[in-house]
Amino acid sequence: MNSFPWLSMIVFAPLVAAVVLLAIPTKSRTTTRIVAITSTLVSLVGSLRVAIGYLPGGGYQFREHYPIIESIGINLDLGVDGWGISLLLLTSIIIFAGAFASWTLTQRDKEFYVLLLALVCGVFGVFVSLDLFVFFLFYEIAVLPMYLLIGVWGSTKKVAEAGPFRFLFRLLDIGGKEYAAIKLTLMLLTGSAFILVGILAMYDSAGAHSFSIETLGRATYPRSLQMWVFPALWLGFGTLAGVFPFHTWSPDGHASAPTAVSMLHAGVLMKLGAFGVMRIGMVMLPQGAASWAWVVGCVAVVNIVYGALAAMRQTDLKYIVAYSSVSHMGVVMLGAATMTVEGWNGAIYQMVAHGLMTGLFFALVGLIYGQTHDREVGNMGGFAKSMPAVAVFFTIASLSSLGMPGLAGFVAEFQVFLGAWNGPMPWWALAGVLGAWLTAVYVLRAARRIFWGAGPPARFTNLSDPVGTEWVALVVLTACLILFGVAPRLILDDIDTTTVGYLDTISQTAPPQASAGVRP
């Protein structure tokens, strides 16, 4: 095994770039972008290198170890398994695309890239941390820059609200980007308070004076502890994953955020939550997970259907995409709740697929909004005439989201449904399938209203297809969607090995009858 610290390189390249950006007193837009994009490219290359170099057979590879506070068992302990690789790849692809998608940013671009890169460092960190504490630390880093990214560079939707809650809307400035930013931040950090409590409970109960995920994973926790720590972690991480009813930060946040931030947030950050539920909650607390799986699954089902229905009602393009994220993250959580190999493979795969798809969606929405300065679907129409390429990419993203075979979304959703059918409650699969149909309904409806029809309205005369660097994000993401849709085994084999390893561990610690009793 190569001793080169690939993972550190991946994680800290964006951070180094952020510091470099802070240090160089450049006013040059191009220099700023080159520095930022170079660092994301470094991470991308590193991720590819890790993905290719990962040996089959599972387990954590590319290990690195640096002490932080050894006396209480906190170390910077890095390593990846099949899950980590998939999400590492996803993150590096999305941020690479996102860096290009923000190319046209005009105001305060240096600060923007600094914050964006800091955030990315946090995301990478979560996926490769083998220390629960460091995991949490990176998790928080990934959440916080969002406040400023949305607050400063976001866009505002003016809502003229009527009805009995009018005063509340005015008082809280609902619809404003500051409102969205603070709501997102506070809700996510409230979630992280529960995560913290859960982590401390596990550390204390294991009694190993170590935060190492492996050490803690080997410990067995009393059932009573698992019964409350798991829901705490589920709520905590689940808030970020958009679990109903704590998903409402997502539509406002994603709608207000600038393009690259929406891409990264819906594309990757929501996955942090789901990844946390699975990697920390379910793998490490199998009994708690088995006992609560039916709740997780039922809520996930609500997410899927409810999110899709809510998306159908929206008229704001970004809200449609945001609610579709709520719905699709439900698929991830559904896969997780099944506690089956297919379900978990599908959940991880759905994270990748949804990340790519929603990243593409937000990139496109950004392009459209950048030219129209309007997100109201009702005002659009016939855009395919002036932006045919955007229409094509939008259609591809739509198809992936509704589960068209040949695109990544199908591979993921189908596996999740398989898992659900074989999981504790087969009817979950029905709801999932229904959700896929509802997705087809709202997403194609939106596509038709935006792109089809006779020519754009008069006020949108200057629309055009993407130019120059704007293509990069679209092409990269679409290519990945197709690639992972056609040849899933590129990553599925590694995911599968890891999943099976985890589930074996679970079945050893939690006897099958524990999960058999789930079905009420």
Partner: protein, 622 residues
């Protein structure tokens, strides 16, 4: 560091196992992958695509080669090549492949592939002429979609398991969506495309769940799995739900007439010959599963027969030539489904192939007429016989095949169906089908009489005969429409069954009723003006689209308002509660400010209060 395993496992499996010396496999792969390559090329190399004509010729050439390969393949299979399955793993579970992709070549798939590629090749060549008036980029786009369709349909046909079949199924649905909406600037085209997708996708929910249940019961997606208990009925029933959508069975047929918004060759290929027949193909393919569900088969018979009758009745009142043909397609698909439901897979499949030829011919003929007069309305075509004699002749040939006039293709297959069903004792459905046959004859006669021999319409007088690119494929299909009926033996060989044709009472009855329908049509429309309509009230009822109205109100008064309610709930209740929490804190913080009075003595008072509380605690607690 975890242990490293041998690197032998590390190499990913080859994407496709090409065998240099395996002709059957290579032919199948050529038929499948050449169009794919063409699609990728056209999709990525936009100058080529936007060049239009070149793209068209390339695509058509590829389609023809693809057909050549399929035909050779069919011959090899007829010649006794053993069935062959070649797959690569696609999805894994616990290190083992649970779903694979590849090709499965046997008599059924080889013959279906030949039919598909043949019609596709004809339609593409035809399109070179038909689409010539569209803009060049639009033509490029058109042929790109077509290349994708051949691949998708080929993948469906050659599927070694139901999962790949489903993948192809969805992809042809995608092509259908794209091609129906080909004229995207037209609002009606957009609505039709979306409607087609929604309805078929709605039905596909059943198909997906069927696959899930199949996997749940057997751990595979094989169509010959052995199911027991409730799943023996439930799985094929769920699969059949998908079939009802794709093959436009009542009440899920509503998308097919709307799908005529697409260019006419598209209707010929997708919405008549191949894609809509995919449902029938699925049942044929998965018949081992369906066999085990007799109650389902009975239901299929009835659904098929009802569709055949209802759609035929609806076709009578249509003025749009394509809509007539669309309902006719529904109706004929009903025949196939009814046949399959009665256990007559051979008959159903036979009808599928003959129908593919004569119905695509009819559409292409209709396309030629539309091309000539730039209208879909049969009344605008009056008197076309005079100006476009060749295509008129071909259209009439197709009609005769459809009606089931003896020696034409449709006669043999329809006769086989009815005969076998009668043997199976399905009297009422047979009666419905026979009646449907009469209606078929009537509406086709109506179209021919009005469009080709009726009062001369303005546009029709200046019409020109179609170019050779259009006539050539029509001619080829015309030959098949006449002669394909004699292919029954060939088909039977492929199936390993006996087939011999004989004139039976039911065949004679049907033929007589068909001829009666023709006569009635000629009498009705050949002599008097069309406005004085015998059908009167029925006509109004049919045109108002009762099934459509049902689905429309389900959408407008069911789903949409429900989504509104959910959206409201989300914004005001779920989000409202969270906002309420925020507001409560702000409110509280604002109110408690007054306790910080700014008066020093109050501060001291707080200190004293604290001390008193301490003392009280000390006295009580200690």
């Amino acid at each position: 560091m975890t242990s490293t395993t041998s690197s032998a496992d590390a190499s990913p499996p080859p994407i496709f196992p090409l065998h240099a010396d395996h002709l059957v496999l290579n032919l199948a792969l050529i038929a499948l992958l050449l169009p794919l390559a063409c699609f990728v090329l056209l999709a990525l190399v936009w100058p080529l695509r936007r060049a239009g004509r070149l793209a068209g010729w390339l695509s058509a050439t590829v389609a023809v080669i693809s057909f050549g390969a399929s035909a050779r393949l069919l011959m090899l299979v007829v010649g006794g090549e053993a069935p062959l399955t070649e797959t690569v793993g696609w999805l894994v579970r616990d290190g083992k492949v649970i779903a694979s992709m590849g090709v499965h070549i046997d008599g059924i798939s080889a013959s279906m592939l030949a039919v598909v590629t043949l019609v596709a090749a004809c339609v593409q060549v035809y399109s070179l002429g038909y689409m010539a008036e569209d803009s060049l980029p639009a033509q490029g786009r058109y042929f790109t979609y077509h290349s994708l369709f051949i691949t998708a349909m080929g993948g469906l046909v050659l599927a070694p398991n139901l999962l790949q079949l489903f993948a192809g199924w969805e992809l042809v649905g995608l092509c259908s969506y794209l091609l129906i909406g080909f004229y995207w600037a037209k609002p009606s085209a957009g609505q039709a495309a979306v409607k087609a997708f929604w309805v078929t996708k709605f039905a596909d929910m059943g198909l997906i769940v069927g696959l899930l249940a199949l996997y749940g019961a057997t751990g595979t997606f094989a169509w010959d799995a052995h199911l027991v208990g409730i799943w023996a009925t439930a799985v094929p029933a769920l699969l059949f739900m998908g079939v009802m959508g794709k093959s436009a069975q009542v009440p899920l047929h509503i998308w097919l007439p709307d799908a005529m918004e697409g260019p006419t060759p598209v209707s010929a290929l997708l919405h008549a010959a191949t894609m809509v027949a995919a449902g029938v193909y699925l049942i044929v393919r998965a018949y081992p599963l369906f066999e085990l569900a007799p109650s389902l088969l009975l239901a299929m018979t009835w659904i098929g027969a009802s569709t055949a009758l209802i759609a035929a009745a609806t076709a009578i009142v249509q003025d749009d030539i394509k809509k007539v043909l669309a309902y006719s397609t529904c109706s004929q698909l009903g025949y196939m489904i009814a046949a399959l439901g009665s256990g007559q897979i051979m008959g159903g499949y036979f009808h599928l192939t003959t129908h593919a030829f004569f119905k695509s011919l009819l559409f292409l003929g209709a396309g030629a007429a539309i091309h000539a007069v730039h209208s879909n309305d049969i009344h605008d075509m009056g008197g076309l016989w005079k100006t476009t004699r060749i295509s008129a002749l071909l259209f009439i040939t197709g009609s005769l095949a459809l009606v089931g006039v003896p020696i034409f293709a449709g006669f043999f297959s329809k006769d086989l169906i009815l005969e076998e069903m009668l043997e199976a004792g399905q009297y009422v459905p047979v009666a419905m089908l026979v009646l449907g046959a009469g209606l078929t004859a009537f509406y086709m006669t109506r179209v021919i009489v009005i469009a080709y021999f009726g009062d001369a319409a303005e546009g029709a007088e200046h019409a020109h005969e179609a170019p050779w690119t259009m006539l050539l494929p029509m001619g080829a299909l015309g030959l098949l429409a006449v002669g394909a009926g004699f292919g029954g033996d060939l088909l039977a060989t492929l199936w390993g069954q006996q087939y011999h044709f004989g004139m039976t009472p039911i065949g004679i009855t049907t033929s007589v009723i068909g001829l009666g329908g023709i006569a009635l049509g000629i009498m009705r429309y050949g002599t008097s003006t069309w406005t004085a309509d015998l059908l009167g009230g029925l006509r109004g009822f049919i045109l108002s689209g009762p099934v459509d109205r049902f689905w429309d109100s389900a959408w407008r008064q069911g789903l949409l308002p429900f989504a509104q309610v959910v959206g409201w709930f989300d914004r005001y209740i779920v989000d409202g509660l969270i906002n309420m929490v925020a507001w409560l804190f702000i409110f509280l913080a604002d109110r408690i400010k007054r306790f910080q009075t700014g008066r020093a003595q109050d501060y001291v008072f707080a200190v004293v209060l604290g001390v008193v509380a301490f003392i009280a605690y000390g006295m009580v607690g200690a």
